[in-house]
Every structure is written in structure tokens, then in C-alpha cells.
Symmetry: D2
Subunit: 120 residues, 4 copies
Amino acid sequence: MSDASPSTLADLTAMALRFRDERDWAQFHTPKDVALSLTLEAAELLEIMQWRDGPALDEHLRAEREHVGQELSDILSWVLILAHDQGIDLGAAFAAKLEHNAAKYPVEKARGVARKYDRL
Amino acid sequence: MSDASPSTLADLTAMALRFRDERDWAQFHTPKDVALSLTLEAAELLEIMQWRDGPALDEHLRAEREHVGQELSDILSWVLILAHDQGIDLGAAFAAKLEHNAAKYPVEKARGVARKYDRL
Amino acid sequence: MSDASPSTLADLTAMALRFRDERDWAQFHTPKDVALSLTLEAAELLEIMQWRDGPALDEHLRAEREHVGQELSDILSWVLILAHDQGIDLGAAFAAKLEHNAAKYPVEKARGVARKYDRL
Amino acid sequence: MSDASPSTLADLTAMALRFRDERDWAQFHTPKDVALSLTLEAAELLEIMQWRDGPALDEHLRAEREHVGQELSDILSWVLILAHDQGIDLGAAFAAKLEHNAAKYPVEKARGVARKYDRL
């Protein structure tokens, strides 16, 4: 690993794929099991939030910051792998989805309102 | 939006935060609800895989590639937002987690084997 | 359907299986897809809780009581189907798991404490 | 515990509530954290299915039958607790949801077809 942290989707994806290829694990990565694995990591993140709210949760999250970073990294890794395996340009998809969401949640209607688009 | 797709974590995060701030939605983003929302998006991704396997799933995923990209983008957006809100350097966390995983799954033991590290 | 609501695991399971068999759906019910479907229904339940807490959530849940009951029923249905398909006596498993949990969380240690058993 | 396994929703619910009350845990059971906990248990069930399919998964599930029964029991326990806390008659809700699903998936259209109701 170089001294600097990876900062681009391309670099992060290359790292995740290199880890996988060194272990010959692509053979296990059906898209269903990759999405399933992503869901399991999301649950591990959610578990850190269990039974606490407000300031007690904030304090807990500060104590668990490294743990939170690990779970977010695992989730990100599966996102990058699935995007790669499905031939998806994640940066382009991200920009397109934000445009899509901006149309669903126009600023003038959605400002300060936490409701689904079909109830705005 | 500029012509080029965003390619760095910093650019993607800035886009997600701008979308949020334009709508004044940070007030709703407790860490628990952000992690919950990430889990919901993971489930939406998983739903695309439901009831199909093998070539039938592959074909379905090709037809749904834009949809898959949308769900991956939603997940990525929550990852970036939670990392930002918790003061986590996601690139550094990602590199550290891969090193951590490399120690748990040494190449010589893990090669071609889909088992948890405690059963290697 | 008879006038009375089903009240035993056996009756509820029979209803879920009859629904499935009338549609010839057992062929699609791999254990992985059943567990996946259960997860999707859990996410639909979780979604009802999104963006609200405390009294605002309580009020929302009262307004959505029928909806909550529907999601709980869908989850229950998958639990019953998977138990059936795997040859599991769910009532016996439930009693055994409570005994198991009672040993992990002895009353004198766990009383009033929301911590995992390994941190009691 | 009596010799016989519990077989009614009422008995199962009473057992889950007694376990909770002995530990004074109702104070932690906000509906959001109960639904979150249910989701975590669903993920633990899903994890048993990870990286295997077909006969290899079937064999694994036979070896893990007790484990599967434990996860199903944990999920069931949260279903019963949330139904109780929200004043939902789960048996009645279950019967009503099956009727609802029967209308969405009429036998003549849904027979042998694994598609969402809006694509039948």
C-alpha cells in the first residue's frame, strides 16, 4: 500500500479486486451472495446503533468510531465489487441518481420535510 | 453538475451533502436513521436478486443494470453521509480495513476457500 | 376461512402452506430466497419507523397499525414456511432458545441492563 | 417450563414477555429498536445461507438445523413482542394479510409464476 489513502473510486475498486483475486474468491461472488453480504454488513453497522439514542448514542459512536469505519468500509467494498462485476460506472450512476432524486424531491417542496416523494 | 462524472470520495461526498443541505435534511439524519436508511437501500438491492439464480439472474441484472446502479448509488450516498457525519476518513478506513482483513484471511489459508476466518 | 382467527403455530403454518400450494410456489422457495424474502419484509417493517422517534413515532404507528400488522404477518409467514421446509419444530425451538437466552442473560446480571451477554 | 412445547401465539407471547419482564427490559424496547433487532436477527439467519446454494446449502442447513431454529425463534420473539406492544392481534392480522395477498395474487394468474403482483 502506498503512503497516501486511496481517494478515487477507481483506486478503491482496484484494491478490493486485488484482495479478492489474491484469494481466488471471485468464483464465490454470485451477485445474490454479494448483495446478501452487503446486507449483512449493513446489519453490523445497524447493530452499533442498537439500544441507544441521542447523546448516549453519539458518545457510543465516538468510542466506536474505528468500528463504524470498518463496517462502512466493508459495505463500500461490496458496493464497489458489485458495480465492477455488473459493468456499472458507479460515479456516473451516482450523479444520475442524484439528478433523479432532485426531480423527485424538488427543493421548494422537500425543504425541511422528511416525507416520501409520493406524499410531498 | 460538471460534464465529468465524480470520481473521488471527496467529490461524491460533496455532492451528497449539497443535495442534503439544499433540502435542510441534516436535522433528520440521526446516525440511527442514516444506518436504517442504508439498510433499507441494501434491501432494495437484494430484492432485485429475489427468485432468480444463475443465467436467469444474470440476464435479469443486465436488463435492470440502471436499477442496480441506482440502488448502489443510494447505498453509497448513505455510506458517505455517515462517514462525514461521524468524522471518519473513509479512504483511510478502507485501506486499514483491507489490511485488517488481509491478516484475518491470509492468502495461503484463504485461497479458494469460502469460510469465515475462525474456521480457516 | 373459519370465523375464529388462527391461534396455533400449526394452524398458521397450514394456512401459509395452503396459500403457497394453491399457487404452486414451493418450487421457487429455496431456503436462501425464503430467508432473503424474510429480510425484505423486515426492511419494510423498519421503513415504517424511519425518520420518527418518541411520541411522533408512537402516533405514526397508531395510524399505521394495520400496515404494521401486515408486515409482521409477512415476516411470520416466512418464519413458518422456513421452519416447515427445514423440518424444525418451531414451538420446541422457541422454548429451547428462551432457555438458552436465560442462561446467557441471567436475571441477576441482566436486570435493567441493555448490554450484550459478553459485556455483562 | 411445562413438558409440552408452546403451541399458541398467546403462549409464545406470554413466554417472551415473561423473559423480558424478569429482566426489566421493556424500558429499552422502543418500536424502532425492536424492529431494528428483528432485522439483525433476520441478517443472522441470512448469514447461514451465505456462499452456498443447492445441495451444498441443503446439507449445510441440515448440519445447522438447531442454529436455524434459534434464529427463527429470535425473529419470532421480536414479531410477538412488537405485535403485543402495538396492540395488534397477530392471528387476526395474519388471516387478513393472507386474504389481502390472495386478492393480489389470484390463483389463476399467479400459479407457477414468481413475479410481483404488478407484473402478473
